[in-house]
Symmetry: C2
Subunit: 302 residues, 2 copies
């Protein structure tokens, strides 16, 4: 028998974890912060352990919370998506695009004005979620999938591939830290890690990057247990990097906006190979033309 916690507490938790603020979560749900506090307390009692570390501030998720969050978030994303898809006439003129969370917020959204200028007649709905929506069922018209190889289950084309570099805030380097001239120098700074949702063992990570760097710079110790800061969510990790809390291995595509604006800089030039970004859709989609336009546009602004 399935034992489901009160759903209200899950909704409160999801909003609070996403915004890392009870206040903002309360505003989003149209209630007072007190209500959020109570709901999360209920969930914490069910789990038998705290989900947030409230002090010292700022608010942060505990390990248990980090574990819960992506699942609950994806679930709600998916619920919202199917219900919208099932609902009578969801403005069938908009192209519904889904992409991974980090890509949506870091790459897609900042460039949407350019899209709008080029194709003002094609409205986009961006569904940023790490849940894998079912295109065949119509949960979205087009998906941007992030994978090592081309998806084979649907019509797909590769738009571009990324590489992974160590990146950090320029402030981190200028504020009197040791200069970085060689790979080993990176180890003087906090290293920021984040998990990959998929179980790719080959995924770019500090341990892989350091292994490659070691072949160039033998001074790098073989077993660096240097887990200074670890996040379950790529977006949280990037926020931490931008805030100058350390250096992370990031996709140059995902942080390209920050690199261009100077908010982040490459800390070293050694790159790990990354993944492909694929535009995926059902074959013979009724709005093939819009899909073509979108794929072409993505490639053009790469």
């Amino acid at each position: 028998m399935r034992k489901l916690p009160p759903l209200g507490s899950l909704r409160a938790f999801e909003a609070a974890a996403r915004r890392l603020s009870f206040r903002d979560a309360a505003a989003e749900l149209g209630v007072t912060p007190t209500a959020i506090s109570h709901q999360i307390r209920i969930l914490e009692e069910i789990c038998g352990r705290p989900l947030f570390r409230r002090r010292p501030r700022p608010l942060a998720l505990t390990d248990a919370g980090e574990r819960l969050f992506p699942v609950i978030r994806n679930g709600f994303d998916t619920f919202a998506s199917v219900v919208t898809a099932v609902s009578a006439k969801t403005a069938r003129t908009t192209l519904r695009v889904t992409s991974p969370n980090a890509f949506a917020s870091r790459w897609l959204v900042p460039r949407l004005p350019r899209w709008r200028k080029l194709y003002p007649q094609i409205r986009l709905e961006i569904i940023g979620t790490d849940a894998v929506l079912n295109l065949r069922a119509g949960d979205a018209d087009l998906a941007i999938r992030y994978a090592r190889t081309m998806p084979t289950d649907l019509a797909a084309r590769e738009i571009f591939r990324d590489s992974f570099f160590p990146v950090c805030s320029p402030a981190l380097l200028s504020e009197g830290g040791p200069a970085i001239t060689r790979a080993a120098d990176l180890l003087h700074y906090p290293l920021i890690h984040y998990d990959w949702l998929n179980g790719d063992r080959e995924a770019p990570s500090w341990s892989r990057w350091l292994a490659v760097a070691r072949s160039v710079d033998p001074d790098i110790p073989a077993a660096t247990e240097h887990w200074d800061l670890s996040f379950r969510e790529e977006i949280h990790a990037i926020d931490a990097v931008a805030a100058g809390q350390g250096i992370a291995i990031c996709s140059d595509v995902v942080v390209s906006h920050e690199i261009e604006s100077g908010a982040l800089v490459k800390a070293h030039d050694l790159a790990l190979p990354g993944y492909g970004f694929y535009v995926v859709h059902v074959p013979d989609h009724p709005r093939q033309a819009s899909i073509e336009a979108f794929a072409a546009w993505m490639r053009s602004v790469a």
Copy 2:
């Protein structure tokens, strides 16, 4: 901005869709049928279309309902699973096994007494769900995955493979229907279909079976639009077959219990190749011994 329907209505819907009865759903949730009715009405108003076809009886899901159901169900399954996993020590002596829904209820559960007899000291918790749980995150200890080829992201071993046959209730044939001596005779009966959750275009289906049968029996018409009964859920389809409503293409493994007991019979001997059942777990799992025992047991009772 994500537009989420009231979660209570989703819970009511999920229970009602799973049991195909407002009454039973109400009993499960510990409320009166009236409450279920109200909640589902709310969800139907949000979707702008009915989710259940109430009359004529029996209760059935509409297309929109069929579309919603698996997603909501998987979401709740996953929620329950992570919350349990996160909760303080869930009796760490039990081996948590997840498998696809149909396999859990049709194959695994009926054979559990045998397991219990052999390994009374190893307690099992069966999490039957079509959602893909995250073993690395500890949502379960062991997964039975159903796939064309061996999963590569975790330690896996093939337990057995299945084949797909047309099966039906013996009552269907004995009740004066035309005898089945060749493939074309099957077309005199209602054909029962069900969707595959994964997007496998090569998945065993009536159209594939008939295509193969046509090479033996050219009398089978090429384009048979014979969609008599269609289900989104394999379990529902099997229930319909057992109730004598028609013939379906079923996995011999999933219905093996019904075949042995005589509740179902093969309607024809032509088989389609199926998939493999894989026992999957994280490498170097702390309870490797239990996992070995389980894999060995599964193979032995195949």
